[in-house]
Structures are given as C-alpha cells and as structure tokens.
Symmetry: C2
Subunit: 402 residues, 2 copies
C-alpha cells in the first residue's frame, strides 16, 4: 500500500516533534507500506521569513518572496531525513525542482499543473521514505512558485493522485471531522466517513479543518482523504465519493461568524438592476455569498446579501457612493450576524429538512434573517449572539449526537 | 564590461549591510556595466543550520546536510533582489538549479564541472543584475551539493570564467593583498598587482585572504581576480598572469604558526626507509609539509618534517607505536614552531634570495630549524616566539615597505 502523509508546521516545529512524526511514519514503513511525506515549513518559519523580507522591502517582488519562502519547507524535509538517518531508516528529501512539481506562473498563488513521478517512484522502489516539500512548485521559467493558502494540503492530494496512492492522510491538531465544532456543541460526534461534497460544503462554511482546494482536488481524482490527529492514534475521518448509509439526513452543523449583511433598499423593479449592482461589487473584488431579493411595499425592490466582515466597510462605502447610479434609496449594513448550516448528502432524496431546521430554530426562539439552500445544504443567517444555541438546537433536532 | 562580484556572509549579515552592498553594485550597473553577484549565506546562518542538524543527528547524511545548507544562500539572494526592487533597479536571484551549476557527486566537498550560462546571459540581456547563490551546485542525480571551504569564491571565479567576465572581484574585510600581515609588520604595503603563482604560495602559507582553489581556478582560466574591501572604496589588489615589473625580488612575507615539527631519529640508512615512513603517515590521512633528511653521526639517518598542529599528537603516537616496524631509535616532537616564507616571481631569475633571507635572520639572532625552497619561495622553520621579528626582518631586508 502507498500512503501519502502530510504534516503541518506545528507538527515539525522542533527536534522533538520531528522525531515524533518520524517514528509514526517509520511504523507505517516497517509494516511494509510505501510512504511519501509532505511537510510544511517549521512552526512560524514562514512568518519569520516574511518579516525578514518586509524589513528589506514592504512590498517585495512576488517572485523573490517565493524564492525566499521555499527555503522553509526545504529546511523541514532535510531535517526530517536526518531524523530518519538517526533511526537507521532509509529516506530522501526532495524539493519542487527535484520532484518536479510543475505549476502555473503566478507567484504566490500558483496552481499545480503536472507532477513528474519518476524520481519519487525510483526512490520508493529503493525502499526509501520520500519526503517532499509542500506548498511549492516550479513554473515554466524554472522559477520557484508557492501555492497560496492550504498549499501543503494541495501538494499532498496532488501527489497522492499522481502516484495513485491508496490514501492521503492529512495530519492536523484535531481528531477528524465532527458533526459540529466540539467547542460549541458538547455532544458533537466525530464522523467516520463523509462525502467530498459534504466536506466541501463544511469547509466553505467554516469548519476549518481542510482547505477547499485540496478537497476539490481529491474529489476530482477520487483520492481517499483521511483527516486525523498528529497527537494521538485515533482513526480520523475518511472523505470519499460514496460513504456507508448511516440513515442520517444531515452529517454536520457548521457556523461562520465572518459575515456581514448588506441591504440595498428601494431599487427599481426592472431587469438589469441586480446585474448592475453585483457587477459593481465584483469589480471591487468583493466576494458576495448569500443573496436575497424581495419586493418592497411601494413596488420597488430590496436586495440583501452577505460579504466577509473585512470587506464590509469597503462594500458599504462603494454602494453609498453610488446610490444615484444604482437608483436606490439607501444602504443598510448589519455586522453582528452569523451563518449556520446543516449539510448532508442524504437530504437530496428527503424533503422536509429545511422545514425541520426552521422548526427547531423557532422552538429555540431564534429569528432567521435570510435563508439559502443547495442540494445538500440549508443555511440560515441569524444574529451572531444566537450562533451557539442554533448549532446545538440543529445538532439535536437532526439526531447527530452519539 | 561584465563584472562578477562576490560578497561573503558578513557583508550581507543584516538588512543595512544588504543595502550597502546593493548600492555599491547599483553604481557599477548604472555606469552601464553588466553585474553578476555571488553571495554567501547571511552572517552565521550556515553555523545555525549546522547546529539545527546536529540537534537531530550528530552525524547527518551529507546529502541532507547539503539540502539544508543550500537554503542559506538562497535566502541571501532573494533578500538582495528585494533590496534592488526597493531601489527600483531590475534584478533576479538564481540558485544552483536555476543557473545550473553542475558539480561532481561528492556531497559537502563537490567540484564544479560545468556551468550553463544561458539563463544568466538571458537575464543580463534584459539588463538585470543577476544574483547567484555561492557555495552550491547540482550533481548528476539532481541533488544539491556544496563546494566545501572557500566555496563561494570558487563559484564567483568559475562564473567569471564561464561568462568570460572582464574581472572577478572578491569583496572581503581587508583592503587587498599586503606584503605581509599589517597587524604584525607595521610597514606592510598593499600590493597593486601580484601573479597567480605568488598568490598561490601566499595563500598556502597562511596569508588567508583567498582560498587556494579559487586562485588555481582563476589561473587556469586566466580570470583577472581583484581582492578588495567591502567597507571602503579603495582599489584593492589585482591577481593576474603577468604583472608590471617593479624590480622587486620578493612580493610578500607570510607566516604560518599552525605547524609542528616531528623528527624520527636513528633510521637505517638504506633505500625505502623514507617511503615506508611517509606511506604509513599518508595512510593515516596526515598531511606532511616541509621534509628534511640528514645523516646522523653513527651512519644512521634522521628525518624531520612538519604537520598541522591538530594532527601532531596523532602522528606522534602513530610513529611511537611503530618504532620497531620503522627500525628507528626514537621520535621527537616540537610544537612551538612557525613557518616564515618570502614569495616572489622575481626570484626565479635572481640568485641569492635564500642567502639574503638567512643573512637577515642571522642578523636578527633568529635560529633556523629547517629550510625548504621552491622556484618562487623560500621557507624557514623557526621558533614560534621569533615569528614577528623574522617577518619584520625579512620585510625590511627585501625592501618591501613603502
């Protein structure tokens, strides 16, 4: 069996932790399996490097920043190989040039295009543990690139796909994917399995375990993805295409407090109004999420939507400045709101999930601001102060506890 | 004009120094010249990385140590390119893979085999300052290698040769090459020019400005080498094949206190005795320098030689243990000795240099232990306490002062 294992910066933050990770992977190797490891830069090393860069240039050229940052993962993989040598286990470290990991040209936010597997295959055939730098690639100019947020997860999944690995394990500081955030919902339960689509909705909605890009990639190439703890031996959660039917309508409950509701009130009720509004917002590179359109009492219409909190003020100002262009009466902004969602592949074939969600919130005396649904998700916008209560109510209503 | 400029770790040790170096090179660039820079790792970064490695593995695999150490120069070149960006001057950093610098396979002590110049030429044609990582290369397995001691100087000279540069400037913390160490000989004078061969003898003899390998390489490819200060604008010393005849027999005086004399007394006087002795020493990887053989009073013979101080005890023990095998009477060791040499291409065609050297030492009441000469060098072994007096005496006798 071939397993790709990815460890983040915290897991390789010092010599002791490096040995912990090495021992864990050695067990897999000694059981006769082939092991490919993907490592991030140690601890806060990437931040240290960025600070060094900013001391020289507050806005360093992206190409040179990538040239600098890629030293971080190279340091991790070299030290890991030294740890294996101490333990007498054959291993080899490889950077993006050596693999090679071909990416698009965009420095700081490149996308993987193609991975050469010859070198890795050769080293695996020599029964070595292969330790690969995460987060980095090489573009067509033969320059280092980095993959942006969640980059090392993406490297791991892409390597697993290219090598036809049996699974890709992402080691993190949590045990797996839970039916809800255990810090908020005490009765939250770790899921054994979950589908790619459910995980994508949970990731987007702020479950925060995995970055969307890596889940999308795993789905595309059908790579079984396992999220598990780097601190204990528990089994973790497997993310794959089809999961055992557990008779569950809903797999999990997620919340996202990083939302602000903006309402544009008194727009003319004629074609093209929504296009004009959202085109203006898109041009300002502001991401819009839930959208609700309603007819006002006087024949005009109102449009409400949510934006990330850090873009809210900019968006509000943009619309205020363009009230005349938009022919709107006024703009409202409401900051203390949260999105709470229930996600489940099972709800595709079962009606009444949304109704059940609304019912449980009604029983908990929680007011719903906006509603948005997809095939496998129901999301409501509520007051931020009600978030915890809403999550617990939904978690209980859909029987997610153990 | 194309100039290769090499800066050591101290010169790029922090943001302020990086900008100093950048400003200096920007001047050369703005004068219309093409500039290729070679940088070492910042300050003590290489030592920091070695310490990190030793924490994980007291004897790390050399391949992985090179993988780790090469991050040092990559950090320097990226930060330097950021400094140029701050100043609005186009530049680009390149590591050993990107250049590419092909070396032999020996990790930790590789030799440069071939340098591809295409990428550098391309960047120079785009009027960019090209900043290359010193000390590192890539071997036939596509692994990082490092070049060992004096590695960045070697990188600079090799690049100058491959690019047919007009000169290669090595920036250091001294103004240039002096007729003697100015800390010891107050009247020492900076030389304007010196030949490769003179420099080679001075380097070997402990002048310590340049590593031998880089001088040998410069001689082989006839690269004019300039040693100059990174702290001031003085012209430095040019090292080349033929220098202006200054009517000087001797160019410089050098001393090396890292020597111990070992004498093997009472050897049989028959063929093969010296071979047996030095073969034994060579097999123990002990470097032997000056050798003197003399006939003892009783028809036996004595052989004396010098070894580096840190190998002296080992050598002494080896010979003590093998007195019977060697059929020798005893071994003597004398630690507090020093080699003092005068070097000059002029002495090839002029007899009497050695005699003049002995005369001036006699006048200074300094006893000579051993003598060794080459075409352009006279070396004497004396008591270590006499070193400074001997250097000053020779410096004066050969009229080296200003």
């Amino acid at each position: 069996m071939l397993v790709v294992k990815k460890f983040g910066g915290t897991s390789v933050g010092n010599a002791e932790r490096i040995f912990n990770v090495a021992r864990r992977c050695a067990k897999e190797y000694q059981a006769g399996n082939d092991v490919v490891m993907v490592l991030s830069a140690m601890g806060k090393q990437t931040d240290v490097l960025i600070d060094m860069a900013h001391e020289i240039n507050p806005n360093p050229p992206k190409r040179e920043l990538d040239m600098l940052l890629t030293t971080g993962e190279q340091t991790s993989v070299a030290l890991m190989a030294m740890a294996f040598a101490t333990m007498g286990i054959p291993s080899i470290s490889l950077n993006a040039f050596q693999v090679a990991m071909h990416t698009t040209s965009v420095y700081g936010n490149a996308r993987l295009k193609r991975i050469d597997t010859e070198r890795i295959q050769h080293e695996l055939e020599g029964r070595k543990i292969v330790i690969v730098t995460g987060f980095q690639g090489v573009n067509k100019y033969e320059d280092f690139t980095t993959l942006g947020r969640g980059g090392s997860d993406t490297t791991a999944v892409a390597l697993a796909a290219a090598l036809h690995a049996d699974k890709c394990e992402i080691y993190t500081d949590v045990d797996g994917v839970y039916t809800a955030d255990p810090r908020i919902v005490k009765k939250a339960r770790k899921m054994e399995e979950i589908t790619y689509n459910e995980m994508l909705d949970l990731a987007t909605l702020g479950a925060g375990v995995l970055h969307n890009r890596s889940v999308e990639l795993a789905k595309k190439y059908n790579v079984p993805l396992v999220v598990r703890s780097s601190l204990n031996e528990s089994e973790g959660t497997t993310i794959k295409e089809v999961v055992k039917v557990e008779g569950m309508l809903v797999s999990g409950v997620a919340a996202d407090k990083n939302a602000t509701r903006i309402s544009v009130v008194g727009l003319e009720d004629r074609p093209g109004v929504a296009f004009k509004l959202f085109n203006m917002i898109a041009k300002a590179h502001i991401n819009v999420d839930m959208i609700l359109q309603s007819i006002g009492r006087d024949g005009s219409k109102d449009i409400s939507f949510t934006v990330p909190e850090d873009m809210a003020d900019e968006c509000y100002k943009l619309l205020e400045d363009n009230l005349e262009v938009l022919k709107a009466k006024k703009v409202d902004m409401r900051k203390n709101v949260a999105k709470v969602s229930v996600v489940g592949a099972g709800m595709m074939s079962t009606p009444g999930v949304a109704a059940k969600m609304f019912e449980c919130l009604y029983n908990a005396d929680i007011n719903i601001n906006m509603i948005s649904t997809s095939e496998i998700r129901v999301t409501v916008l509520i007051d931020e102060k009600d978030t915890e209560r809403a999550m617990n109510a939904a978690h209980e209503a859909f029987g997610l506890e153990d």
